[in-house]
């Protein structure tokens, strides 16, 4: 019989947690590149002219996400990682990313 468990069965959980935390990093990167653009600190160049600056901002965020994922995956893939802190960090990063992408918030920093 297969039952639910609180623990870690089978393979280490590192690869899964690396994917989750990297998604949080990517979400934060989206918000980060948006807010530094809106506050005039740094405007990513348009990598696809017809779409304008959003093509540069989101490409940069995607690159940060993929690099973060690659680094975390390499370090954690064979390890059992304590999940609680990783989950909390992931959710905080996602929340920050979403909040920083929210136009009314730009006026606070603007």
């Amino acid at each position: 019989m297969t039952t639910m468990s609180e623990g870690h069965e089978g393979a280490p959980n590192g690869a899964a947690l690396a994917a989750f935390l990297a998604a949080g990093i990517g979400a934060f990167a989206v918000g980060f590149f948006v807010i530094i653009n809106e506050t005039g600190l740094f405007a990513a160049p348009a990598l696809y002219g017809p779409a304008g600056g959003v093509s540069g901002r989101m490409t940069f965020a995607t690159v940060v996400w993929l690099i973060g994922w690659a680094v975390l995956h390499t370090r954690w893939k064979d390890r059992e990682v304590t999940s609680k802190g990783v989950y909390a960090a992931t959710l905080v990063l996602i929340a920050l990313g979403v909040v920083l992408s929210f136009p009314p918030v730009w006026q606070i920093f603007g």
Binding site: T2, M4, A19, V54, T90, I94, P104
Partner: protein
């Protein structure tokens, strides 16, 4: 009659919003249900493997559909949306951004709704990709490890909420200033 029923821009908008965006939302809803309904399984090991394989395909489909929605949105629909009309043009129906900005009552659809649509879907796509990776790699562990299951469910729920909000905003924009 040789009249085109839908313009190319309109067809791409439907592919972007209804086919891919709608398909991703349906897959996300199904995956969320599956993550919850199948997690405390008493099924034999083989059956759990089979269930987790279906779940993995479902989440992978959602992630791929979200990325395609994002890319078509940015590379096809958004350039047409933000095109600048020739000076002096009074009929702005072919220039959605200018049309929205020309009316005080619809300016928020660009300044708020479209700004969110430009960025937030990328977050949703990243979250779905993370869960798809875990579903494809860990397979039945996603159904049998409670912590992993909870986190995957949470991330997919956030992804579903973000994609739904963005979808509704897209409908608002397309109702007022459709890409035709």
């Amino acid at each position: 009659m040789d009249t085109k029923l839908f313009s190319d821009r309109s067809v791409w908008t439907m592919i972007h919003g209804i086919v891919l965006g709608g398909g991703a939302l349906m897959a996300l809803a199904a995956a969320l249900f599956a993550l919850r309904a199948m997690r405390a399984t008493d099924a034999p090991h083989g059956a759990a493997q089979q269930q987790s394989r279906y779940l993995a395909w479902l989440v992978v489909f959602a992630a791929v559909a979200l990325w395609l929605t994002v890319f078509i949105g940015m590379l096809v629909s958004f350039p047409a949306y933000r095109a600048t009309p020739p000076e002096g043009l009074t009929d702005l129906s072919q220039y959605p951004r200018s049309l929205l900005q020309s009316n005080a009552g619809t300016q928020w659809l660009h300044a708020f709704a479209m700004e969110i649509k430009e960025h937030v879907p990328w977050i949703a796509a990243m979250l779905a990709t993370a869960v798809a990776f875990v579903a494809a790699r860990s397979r039945s562990k996603l159904l049998t490890d409670l912590r992993l299951n909870r986190m995957a469910t949470t991330l997919l729920a956030i992804c579903f909420a973000l994609a739904s909000i963005v979808g509704v905003l897209g409908i608002f924009i397309n109702k007022v200033a459709p890409l035709e």
